[in-house]
């Protein structure tokens, strides 16, 4: 099996310079036509939806826009979303670091299978990701009666939301680190070991600095998905206002109640998060392309 099942979502660091030579590029009118077509397609499918979020949110002016955040249920949703991200992202960072260390620094049987399994959550529908936890922890689930007897709530409660979020964001950090660390090899770590450094010190002072930008990149993507996840969370949440409502779920509720200004208001916060993520991602790709490399190598 191949080691990458989902491709880079990162553009190449340095696009090849366009050739000026006529024989090696398309005629000028063709170039212009293709560019216009591509940009129009992107504008229609990406830019317009983004624009409409902010326009709708501000359609009644700034007052109602800001009022939509001040509402207690909205604040509770923001708090829950932050809480979920604060738990899910560090868990997947620890996992990502462990997985990439084990996979990149050692040669063992079944390594490629392990990489494929780590990518698995990417190919599972978010709804199915929610469903599997309902089947285990739900009232009619495998552990349902046990949990009920002991008064433990997982489904329709925060633990379920965290679990579902962890599942859908599972591969993000690991898959940024694995190719990079494989590319970097073990020489730096060996050098530190010969100098007498303890394993923890090797990791902290050599490995971590070598992968810090890729780690940040992974955290950025992981966090965006953790805060924005809708399908998986909606299955396990039960949508109890003020209690188990994350921001995306709150957007849905407000929208279904025809409270468009508030729905798009919360949505605009999430859209801003997306834009910040894209900006951070582009910055890392531009400023630290070399430190993120290891991707294009295969």
């Amino acid at each position: 099996m191949s080691e990458t099942t989902v491709p880079s979502i990162r553009p190449p660091a340095r696009p090849a310079a366009a050739s000026a030579h006529a024989a090696l590029t398309e005629p000028r009118p063709v170039r212009i036509a293709l560019t216009v077509l591509a940009v129009a397609f992107l504008g229609l499918f990406l830019l317009l939806p983004l624009a409409v979020v902010f326009v709708e949110a501000l359609s009644k002016g700034l007052g109602p826009y800001f009022a939509s955040f001040a509402e207690p249920d909205a604040l509770a949703a923001v708090r829950l979303t932050l809480l979920v991200a604060v738990i899910a992202v560090p868990l997947n960072v620890v996992f990502g670091l462990c997985a990439s260390w084990a996979i990149a620094k050692f040669d063992f049987r079944g390594r490629n299978l392990l990489i494929t399994l780590i990518d698995l959550p990417f190919s599972v529908s978010p709804v199915v990701a929610g469903l599997i936890y309902v089947l285990i922890f739900g009232a009619q689930g495998l552990l349902g009666p046990f949990l009920q007897r002991h008064g433990i709530e997982i489904i329709f409660a925060v633990p379920g939301i965290v679990l579902a979020t962890v599942f859908v964001t599972f591969p993000f950090v690991a898959r940024e680190l694995i190719p990079l660390m494989q590319d970097q090899g073990t020489t730096d770590e060996e050098a530190a070991l010969t100098l007498g450094a303890s394993p923890w010190r090797v990791f902290r002072t050599v490995t971590l600095p070598n992968v810090r930008w890729a780690l940040l990149y992974g955290v950025l993507l992981c966090n965006a998905r953790a805060m924005g996840e809708f399908g998986a969370v909606s299955v396990v949440s039960g949508r109890i206002r003020g209690l188990t409502n994350t921001m995306p779920l709150h957007v849905e509720i407000l929208y279904n109640e025809y409270n468009y200004v508030a729905a798009f208001g919360i949505a605009s916060l999430l859209a801003l998060l997306a834009l910040v993520t894209l900006a951070g991602k582009s910055f890392l790709e531009w400023r630290h392309a070399d430190a993120l490399a290891g991707r294009g190598a295969h």
Binding site: T187, A191, T194, L195, A197, T205
Partner: protein
């Protein structure tokens, strides 16, 4: 036994000191401090012994070792020489503790270090591509080993500073402490890597292809410089190379490896003049090989007697191995016929590329006359070696 740096003595900095590679030799030998420390350091050299080391890999990876035994004297500078895939780097890594052997033992002095992890083994290792920590300055790279010690054994900050500055002096880079590895030339990186390895006061210094990644001129200068450093520190030093010139020029002794086995261990002149096998013969210098036969105290090629056999040479069918510099154009009995392929002038005279009858590859022989391709010549043999046909 870790070596100890002598107590601090003020070092006089030469004004405008520019550590160019070319000035290395004189600068280094002119430094009295290092010379006085040399005696004390030399006593600290540790012997290294590997005993029947076996290391195998399933599939790809470094070369295997098939029962390698080798003893290195205290303070010796030993070269592990061999072609790629001969296992020389694997052996070096086994000594360092970076590879875990499948069988056999490693001894430093009288201590069995086979099961001692690399962190505690007290070796200095210079990696082929230096493995400097890119995010740390030259200073912090060199200080890394000292800072890695357990708190109780860690030197104080001013002591660390002092030692690093001394090492920077030793490797002739006193002004580059604040640079990052990315801002250094290849030769400078090499010297920082060596300083970093020396900083932990290793009992053994191990270098993996130390000059492999450098261009020819820097290589030559650094070679001389490494010799100087070794003379000053008296450190037991093992280095890996695939370059026979490097090994012959630098090492006290050379261990020649082939396919995971040691073919010969000896001083440079020994391996050159008395190669133990055809492989060693052809690896340490250009060699012409002919099928021959030893019988009745003579060596015959295609029925013609070439030279007298020395006592102890094998009888029967053999490979006759000749150095080009032992061949001269001559006439009469005992010469080998050949055909001139090419003739040209070089900086050191004129040479002819001659394919001896029955040889697989031509040899370059110094000549005085002018030849045309296709000319037939006879070559007199000054010295030769024979090995059982293999």
């Amino acid at each position: 036994m870790p070596m100890r740096w002598p107590d601090a003595e003020p070092i006089e900095m030469t004004a405008g000191f520019a550590p160019t590679a070319l000035s290395l030799r004189r600068e280094a030998s002119a430094r009295p401090v290092e010379a006085s420390s040399a005696e004390r350091l030399r006593q600290a050299g540790t012997s290294v012994r590997v005993d029947r080391i076996v290391k195998s890999y399933g599939g790809a990876g470094p070369a295997a070792l098939e029962g390698v035994s080798l003893a290195i004297e205290p303070g010796e500078l030993l070269a592990l020489l061999g072609p790629s895939g001969s296992g020389k780097t694997t052996l070096l890594r086994v000594i360092a503790g970076l590879e875990i052997p499948d069988g056999g033992r490693v001894f430093f002095g009288s201590q069995d270090t086979t099961d001692i992890p690399v962190q505690s083994r007290g070796v200095g290792f210079v990696f082929q591509h230096y493995a400097l920590f890119r995010h740390l300055t030259v200073f912090e790279n060199i200080a890394y080993g000292l800072r890695s010690r357990p708190r109780a054994q860690r030197p104080r900050e001013d002591e660390i500073r002092r030692r690093v500055e001394r090492l920077l002096e030793l490797v002739q880079l006193p002004d580059l402490a604040k640079r990052f590895p990315g801002q250094l030339s290849g030769g400078q990186r090499q010297r920082v890597a060596l300083a970093r390895a020396l900083a932990v006061e290793p009992s053994v210094l191990l270098l993996d292809e130390p000059f492999g990644a450098l261009d020819a001129q820097v290589r030559k200068d650094l070679r001389r410089w490494l010799r100087e450093i070794h003379r000053e520190t008296g450190q037991t030093t093992i280095f890996v190379t695939h370059d026979q010139d490097e090994a012959l020029e630098l090492a006290d002794r050379i261990a020649i490896l082939n396919k995971g086995r040691i073919e010969q261990v000896g001083a440079p002149h020994e391996v050159q003049d008395h190669p133990a096998s055809r492989f060693v013969m052809s690896f340490v210098g250009e060699t012409a090989r002919l099928s021959a036969e030893v019988a009745g105290g003579e060596v015959r090629v295609a029925g013609r007697t070439v030279i007298a056999a020395e006592p102890g040479w094998p009888q029967g069918p053999v490979d006759l191995c000749l150095r080009p510099w032992d061949l001269t154009v001559g006439q009469g009995a005992g010469t080998l016929p050949g055909t001139v392929r090419e003739w040209r002038r070089t900086g050191r005279g004129t040479v002819a590329e001659i394919l001896l009858d029955g040889a697989e590859a031509p040899v370059e022989v110094k000549v005085t006359d002018v030849y045309e391709p296709g000319d037939r010549v006879a070559l007199a043999v000054g010295a030769a070696r024979v090995f059982p046909r293999g």
